[in-house]
């Protein structure tokens, strides 16, 4: 045994490469699951189609100049006046269903993602504040959250849109109002646990301002469960928006979403022109399914990892 040596060690043993970061491990674990990969792939395809719709779609269905009433209610596979094939048929106004789906996905996804992000911001701020302040602030915010969540989302959205009218921005407002409470509650639960941890006390010891501690220390560590909520909520928002459009409120006819497409073909379902409703319906199903798959696996993966 060496003589009394109190010299601190010079360097840690050998230049071992650092273990992979948490993010890398997560990605690797995700890739290992076939179902999860499939879901991710599907979601990426949907995203791709939605983003590049104007370039992929053979026709812009909202450009009235491109439409021709002669093409109305043509079955799938018919040739159009302009020369391309209506792969999935046309609707009552002569619009190509395939193009309609692509543009519809675009609108649906945009509305869903934007509303989810805005709800995330508002919900996180309120949830974090509630967790950090505790006491009356917490009680007040949580009661509002409870109130919000006790109303069925459809009802709230309906009433709001009845008051606000139709439009993309108004739909987003309605969706945000319906969603923010989930984010607030989730982040508050996370934050209440993290708040007691010693690294937050260390930050308080450094006398950093409350806002800085909340955003730079608390928030990043509360993100994992939020990621799951965001993904699930996007799917939920798509479905909610489709419902609202189906009912004839929310998005205007000039920017129809999948819901509106389904609605427009609803009356014709039993008379043989099934393609107007069915195909947008299937597209909607696939989009929501893909996002839910991804969200599910994300949740499973993040759960055991949450225990540090």
């Amino acid at each position: 045994m060496s003589a009394l040596s109190s010299k601190p060690l010079a360097a840690p043993a050998a230049a071992t490469p650092p273990p992979p970061s948490r993010g890398m491990r997560l990605v690797r674990a995700y890739m290992r699951n076939r179902m999860a990969l499939f879901g991710l792939l599907l979601m990426l395809v949907v995203l791709f189609l939605a983003v590049f719709a104007p370039w992929i779609a053979p026709q812009n269905p909202y450009d009235l100049k491109q439409l021709s009433l002669m093409d109305a209610r043509r079955p799938p596979g018919t040739e159009s006046m302009a020369g391309f094939t209506f792969v999935l048929g046309t609707d009552a106004l002569g619009r190509d269903i395939w193009s309609g789906i692509l543009y519809g996905l675009r609108i649906s996804l945009t509305v869903a993602v934007v509303s989810a992000l805005v709800a995330l911001t508002i919900g996180s701020t309120l949830g974090l504040t509630a967790a950090w302040r505790g006491g009356r602030t917490d009680a007040l915010i949580m009661r509002i959250v409870d109130l919000q969540m006790s109303f069925p989302s459809i009802l709230v959205a309906l009433i709001l849109l009845a008051v606000l009218g139709r439009g993309v921005d108004k739909t987003i407002i309605a969706l945000v109002t319906v969603q923010w409470a989930y984010y607030a509650r989730t982040i508050r639960a996370s934050a209440m646990i993290e708040r007691e941890k010693e690294y937050i006390e260390a930050a308080s010891c450094m006398r950093l301002g409350a806002w800085r501690i909340m955003t730079r220390h608390l928030l990043p560590n509360c993100l994992p469960p939020l990621m799951v909520v965001v993904t699930v909520q996007i799917a939920h928002a798509i479905s909610l928006e489709a419902t609202l459009s189906f009912l004839g409120i929310g998005l205007p006819e000039t920017e129809p979403s999948l819901g509106l497409l389904i609605a427009s073909g609803y009356a014709h379902l039993l008379t043989g022109t099934y393609w107007i409703s069915i195909f947008p319906g299937i597209a909607l199903l696939i989009a929501i399914f893909a996002i839910n798959l991804v969200a599910d696996h994300l949740r499973d993966l993040l759960n055991p990892r949450l225990a540090r």
Binding site: M1, S2, L4, S5, S6, L9, P12, A13, A14, R25
Partner: protein, 351 residues
């Protein structure tokens, strides 16, 4: 080397005169290897451990994080679940082979022959069940007795471990008791079916010093009264020093030194054991720098070839690139080192 499960062996060696065979040790572990197959590779937590335990003997298993001592305890109980697996070696309890034994055979053994208590007594006690349910359930799972008898025995067991007003406590829940009392109940639950061997994995680490003393006192009494064999797993040499007959020091999945406790503590041969003893604050003059072992225990993933302690050892040489075997220094005192200390250690400073 291994007997078929269920068939006990009369002995594993004969005495020199060829007379009636001497009875085998209670527990005979030979070259046990337990690995965990994780996404980062195979982690060999226990890497060739052999030990013997006689009836009524107390063995202290000492080690730090990454030494494999807890995995050793779980391996003995057959509680290693996927992705872990006992990959080699044999464990013989009274001649009966445990490695590879089917789960129903292990269930017959766990309880009546083998018991285990953990650092957190809530690992033994279901927090949503009453104490009496946990105790009686254990008993009735192993023996054909009626619930009244089981209840009586459970009550007796609680009294044995020193729980005041046991009848009242039986009806209560684990969360209504303090940590020390919960550990006593866990001990009662483990000893109720009357095992021959108890494995205690850091039972007092989470307890206060005064309660720790009580629990160790209790274990000491139980061992004496029942002829119980005890494997005491701990990171604390002083806990082991106060209770054990023999000590085995583990480092990086292997036993590096083993022998009678007094021998090991007064003449530690392995540099690691010596370093552990000397770095304890009681051993130095207050205010002076403590003798320390440099570096840190190797992670189970990145173990060096050869002697695992070599990077931290002042006596390391080129021969330490190959793994030394566990060799006997004196009778019963074995050490795994190319350069063991042969002299007695520095005496500790009087309190």
């Amino acid at each position: 080397m291994s007997a078929a499960p269920g068939r006990s062996q009369a002995s594993s060696h004969r005495s020199p005169q060829g007379e009636a065979p001497v009875s085998a040790a209670l527990l005979d572990v030979e070259n046990l290897c337990t690995s965990f197959f994780t996404e980062d590779g195979e982690v060999r937590s226990v890497d060739g451990v052999s030990l013997r335990l006689e009836r009524g003997e107390v063995l202290g298993l000492v080690g730090e994080s990454g030494s494999g001592k807890s995995v050793m305890g779980l391996s003995l109980m057959g509680l290693i679940d996927s992705p872990g697996k006992i990959v080699a070696g044999s464990i013989r309890l009274d001649g009966e082979e445990l490695v590879g034994a089917p789960e129903h055979a292990m269930r017959r053994l766990r309880g009546p022959r083998l018991g285990m208590i953990f650092q957190d007594p809530l690992m033994s006690l279901n927090p949503v069940l009453r104490i009496e349910t946990t105790l009686i359930e254990t008993l009735m799972a192993h023996e054909f007795i009626d619930s009244a008898t089981a209840h009586r025995r459970a009550l007796a067991a609680l009294t044995d471990v020193g729980i005041p007003s046991p009848a009242q406590r039986m009806r209560g829940y684990p969360h209504e008791m303090s940590g020390g009392m919960r550990q006593r109940v866990a001990i009662a639950a483990a000893l109720l079916p009357g095992p021959q061997l108890l494995i205690a994995d850091e039972p007092t680490t989470a307890l206060d010093v005064t309660i720790q003393s009580q629990i160790l006192h209790l274990l000491q009494n139980l061992v004496a009264a029942r002829g119980l064999a005890l494997i005491m797993i701990s990171h604390d040499l002083s806990v082991v020093a106060s209770l054990a007959d023999r000590v085995a020091v583990m480092y990086a999945g292997r036993i590096v030194e083993s022998g009678p406790v007094q021998q090991i503590l007064s003449r530690p041969a392995h540099p690691y054991t010596r370093g552990l003893i000397h770095s304890a604050p009681v051993m130095s003059e207050p205010g002076t720098p403590l003798p320390q072992i440099r570096g840190a225990p190797p992670s189970p993933l990145g173990r060096p070839a050869g002697c695992a302690f070599a990077p931290r050892c002042d006596r390391a040489s080129s021969s330490c690139m190959s793994m030394p075997a566990l060799t006997d220094l004196h009778i019963g005192h074995a050490v795994r080192c190319w350069h063991p200390h042969l002299e007695a250690r520095l005496p500790g400073v009087a309190a």
